[in-house]
């Protein structure tokens, strides 16, 4: 459980809040590159960390993320015309460049210099790995560009998707580090999903439904190790790294691609769940990419033209009671991602953690909250940069590995936990 003030601290990410400050220390995913596909393509409304913004790619290919509303009369610039190196408000013609600087006010004489006095708030927007990333913190503290391995491999080795999740970022993220739910909620999918099935590690998973967990602090956050019995007295470990504030990677299975998530607050009651698959040393196959587009693995099928899942709260996530009863699906909801989203959204927009009853296997969640609160306090009171901002913290991998029983997994998997270009992942 958390006290109310702790829950508020961790769940509120708007301007001026401690957790909002923490998110504003890092580059965060803002849009998929496909959302601004070409120069002068239509602008896109973006709400991040409770701020209403507008993204556009100008005539020269420069990217901008600016205040959504015109400084003149406050209309949404989404209605604007993206042309000739700027975005022009259709109401009275005021025009802005990608930095938010007003560059034309038609009603005022150009020589008056009036437009120089008008500037909308803006944030940098950069493109890397099929994602447009923004940094919403103070310019003088702008960190190095993101170093996540999935965003650094060649395009054909990666697939990225995003979906709208209708709840606070924290309960979504906590699902990502709650390793003990896999044996229940996702039971049945390991053997059927094309992006998971066939790995030897699945046999360990299915053969030992009561894994033992070890939580270890890492420089960027945590390692959460789930241990199951393997042959000859050894242990099969699945190690999930969590990097603050909201990045996780799922341990690999066989030669399948590796996947992971970011959870980025839209506001305090909605977030973007970003999902990626990549392979460090090979291209994804056409069949793999097709499966991901269909919503297999950690991805979801989307309502065309939107990033809202086809299965959503308005249709009870297409709950299939017959499949549930027959054991085809433990939860009755199809697919890993929507199984997670359905239960997390059912908790309400911001779950009241004063009422929860955590147990010992929830120590990953407890430790993550502990680290977030400690880092937020250090940031607000002492200006200490939180873990996860350092590019070295981002060069991380999840690991599946068999180790002797007496070896600390942090030691046994020390090299495997570090992302190294061109090096195969440790997987079973």
């Amino acid at each position: 459980m958390l006290r109310k003030e702790q829950n508020d601290l961790l769940t509120q990410t708007g301007p001026g809040t401690p957790m909002g400050q923490m998110f504003r220390c890092s580059w965060i995913p803002a849009l998929l590159s496909e959302e601004l596909p070409e120069r002068d393509s239509p602008p896109v409304r973006v709400k991040l960390l409770s701020e209403r913004l507008l993204a556009f790619r100008d005539s020269e290919g420069r990217l901008g993320l600016i205040d959504e509303f015109c400084a003149h009369r406050g209309i949404s610039l989404w209605f604007g015309r993206n042309e000739e190196k700027g975005l022009r408000c259709p109401y009275h013609g005021w025009k802005y460049d990608v930095t938010g600087q007003c560059i034309d006010v038609p009603s005022e004489p150009a020589e008056s210099g009036f437009c120089n006095k008008i500037k909308l708030k803006s944030y940098p927007l950069i493109e890397k790995g099929g994602i447009l990333w923004t940094y919403m913190g103070p310019p003088e503290k702008r960190p190095p560009e993101p170093s996540w391995e999935f965003a650094s491999v060649p395009d054909k080795q990666r697939f990225v998707s995003k979906r709208h999740q209708e709840c606070n970022w924290l309960q979504a993220m906590e699902g990502g580090i709650d390793s003990s739910h896999v044996s229940f909620l996702h039971r049945g999918d390991l053997g059927s999903d094309p992006l998971f099935k066939g790995a030897k590690g699945n046999q360990y998973n299915l053969g030992d439904a009561r894994p033992v967990f070890e939580v270890v602090e890492s420089p960027g956050g945590l390692y959460i190790g789930a241990r199951r019995n393997a042959e000859n007295g050894k242990y099969y470990w699945r190690i999930t790294p969590w990097v603050m504030p909201s990045f996780t990677m799922i341990a690999p299975r066989g030669n399948h691609s590796v996947h992971g998530h970011f959870w980025i607050p839209i506001d305090d009651e909605n977030c973007w769940t970003w999902s990626f698959d990549y392979h460090p040393i090979r291209e994804l196959t056409a069949a793999e990419v097709a499966a991901m587009r269909e919503g297999k693995g950690v991805h979801v099928a989307l309502i065309p033209g939107t990033y809202r899942p086809t299965a959503n709260k308005d249709n009870d996530y297409l709950m299939d009671r017959a499949a549930q009863k027959a054991g085809h699906s433990y939860s009755g909801v199809a697919g890993f991602a929507m199984q997670d989203a359905s239960v997390q959204e059912s908790m309400g927009p911001i779950v009241d953690r004063t009422k929860e009853n955590l147990v010992s296997t929830d120590n990953g969640i407890i430790m993550a909250r502990h680290r977030l609160m400690r880092a937020a306090k250090a940031l607000v009171e002492k200006g200490i940069t939180p873990p996860g901002v350092d590019p070295e913290h981002q060069k991380i991998r999840s690991v599946a590995i068999v180790l002797p029983a007496d070896v600390p997994y942090k030691e046994g998997a020390k090299e495997a936990l570090i992302a190294k270009p061109g090096v195969a992942p440790a997987t079973v």
Partner: protein
């Protein structure tokens, strides 16, 4: 019925959630396995808790040597120094939390773990003070705790113990 739809998981609908206690207090026994851990546990015992009780096993004898029969007979001390029967205290616990310090001898974990296993009580191992200790020192303590911990946490700072106990409603 609208109220039967997942759409009702809105902020407005949250007002209608039943506001009544949904759990009873759990008996959580926190046992320090070594002298530095005992200092942490003694400090924690000064705070107000629901049903947490605090002990030390730092004076335990080692586990039986190879070939000797195993005995779960053991004695704990509460923070006031009173002797407590291990089995009796484990039997009435919902959770046993063993606190050890990286690099220290955690051999008492064997006896406590056996007792917890016999009484079907969950165990959590916490290793604190790892920062600044060698990997070998940490590995030694880890090897003693791992077989007897259904959940094991290696925490960089002592204050995690308190946060964990609060989170568990101890």
């Amino acid at each position: 019925m609208a109220s039967e739809s997942a759409r009702m998981s809105s902020a407005a609908e949250a007002r209608f959630r039943i506001d009544a206690p949904n759990s009873k207090g759990r008996a959580i026994k926190i046992i320090a396995l070594d002298a530095p851990a005992e200092r942490v546990v003694r400090r924690l015992a000064q705070a107000s808790w629901n049903r947490a009780s605090f002990f030390t096993a730092s004076a335990f004898a080692g586990p039986p040597a190879s070939g000797e029969s195993f005995s779960m007979t053991g004695w704990l001390s509460d923070v006031a120094g009173r002797t407590k029967n291990l089995i009796d205290d484990v039997a009435c616990a919902d959770l046993i939390v063993m606190v050890a310090t990286a690099g220290e001898n955690a051999h008492a974990a064997t006896i406590i773990g056996e007792a917890a296993s016999a009484k079907r009580v969950n165990t959590t191992g916490l290793i604190i003070g790892g920062a600044g200790k060698s990997d070998e020192a940490l590995a030694k303590t880890l090897a003693q705790l791992r077989p007897w911990s259904l959940m094991l946490v290696i925490a960089g700072a002592d204050d995690y113990v308190e946060d964990m106990l609060v989170a568990l409603r101890a």
